[in-house]
Amino acid sequence: MSVTYLEAIREAQTKLLREDERVFIYGQDIAGKFGGAFKATKGLAEKFPGRVLNTPISEDAMIGTAIGAALEGMRPIVEMQFADFSSIALNQILNNAGTHYYRTNVPVPITVRLPSGGTKGSGPFHSQSMEGLYSHYPGVVVMTPATVEDAYTMLIDAVAIDDPVVYCEHKYLYYHLKADALPKESFPVGKARIVRPGRDLTIVTYSAMVHEALAVAGELQRDGFEIEVVDLRTVKPLDTQTVLASVARTGRLLAVGEAFPWGGVTAEVISRVTTEGFQLLDAAPARINAKDTPIPYHPNLWSEHRPNRKSIATKARQILQE
């Protein structure tokens, strides 16, 4: 038996609905036979009547409703059809859910699922990676699972957390990533994982870029370089200690992310390493992000807009030569 990343998300939601009566799923086109734009909830509405609910095209009100339900003791999961559309709900996620615990001492346990990242032909409004934007504000946990196992366990963890969680699931990984089985145990929330040990350069990344980084590490191994790849798993909180420990071993740092280049997760990683571990570095750190334009539609443009194996490998070689 094999399980895809998407199936892991569906299985996690099935388990949550089965085992926790406080859980319900709220989103556009997720109920009925249709089961969601990506089928992440297929079959769940029939299995759990009244707990997988279609909403109007009202991202703001979807999150507002989830906040109210959470305050009343429920554990809602909201599916945004695409991460990009969550821009409509920024106010509810960041100004309402994100401030609520600090203001009132009452936390808001909502989980917002964001189908994120680029796939071919999706264009400017169905491809965005918004983890950096959400992380900038206080009050929310931001998860970016890169593996089938993490997609499963981190979604279960997200619902158990008493605070708002933005769960960024990568659309490219939905069907491309497979595991043999669902995991029995989870890696702690908020901890980064070293997915490939090395000694010459640390690549810190998350979500789909973990797999690009691993491919680059394999390629550079043929030239005698040993690249360590760190998967952040959650970008907020950021596991600075694991990153610093890795840079202490390698002396070199490349941060890779699929989001836009101004600020964001990669800038934060470099900022933390240079301010907290400057003496660990043997070469200037570098980062690669998407380009500072909207995400283009055509595959020729799209594949050059985002970081890819070639651009990551080129930058990695530059740092290694310093």
Partner: protein, 352 residues
Amino acid sequence: MLQTAQRGKKSKKTAPEKPASKKGQVHERYVEAFRWMLTARILEDKLASLYRGGMIVGGVYLGRGQEAVSAACGIFLKKGDVFGPLIRDQAGRSAFGEPLLDVVRTYLGSVKGPMRGRDGNIHRGRPRENELAMISHLGAMIPVMVGKLLAKRMKGEKEFVGLTTLGEGGMQTGASHEGLNIAAVEQVPLVVVVTNNHWAYSTPNEREFACANLVDRAIGYGYEGHKIDGTDLNQCLEVIETAVKRARAGRPPQLVVAEVLRLAGHGEHDDASYVPQEMKAQPFAQDPVARTEKYILENGLLDEDKLKQMRAEIAKQVDEAVATAQQEDPPYPREEDWRSMSTDELIDKPSF
């Protein structure tokens, strides 16, 4: 005036229900509502004077002119019901059970208040006791109320209702539209009371909306709509009671639109010099507190002495609350935990 709009087969028209209360009870309730109106007025006058004396940082936002409609919003809610107040709802908050100390502590920034100096003035609430803590973004609390009511239904609770308020300006946001619509889609037991005080900060109605009356939107949203003179406490009580009863009984969401004039600036920093004199002579510009007091005297519900006594009692309560809060500590940065989340191990800890 009632406008009915319903979906599908439920669309049979019914006349508004008359409150079942006998005359004595009606009078008692009228006086009770007046007490909350007067509480709000006396408390807010005190807050305004503290603000002028430099004792309050930030702003002070008064409900002057809206006391009758606001009191009627709070008075019919019972234990288990949910109230989502907005900027000018002191009377409703007090009627719902908000302690005076909550108000004064929040305005004065006492660490003992519900917001502990982390948020101020009207941005306060007790979510665990069903008084939602508004954010400034207008319309945002409507879906939060929907979620509360939806969850109560999922948990099997019965006969609860939610009431939330809005202004004519707040009704123009996208969030308000989404929230009003999703409430009707979910058919939750909700009453939305919109107080048209004719000024969204300094912007008059003709730059806010172009329909004849905001209550006309009830039909478009699938609500039952009611229009009232917000300076007439009898009307406010009768119509809002009807709306609350209807929502509680499972009828579609209710939209009540009350006409008043904001008898203050947007906040106490604002002299409202943009309000034309002619508008102040309009019927909707009457002071509801003065009007209600006059009615009480003319109809012999209370005499001058009793009114005087009521005023003195409230003033004493307000003074006591202020005196208490003034002696309390403000928040100290060094004692503040600076945590934005309840989960310790998930607090992000950059070292800078």
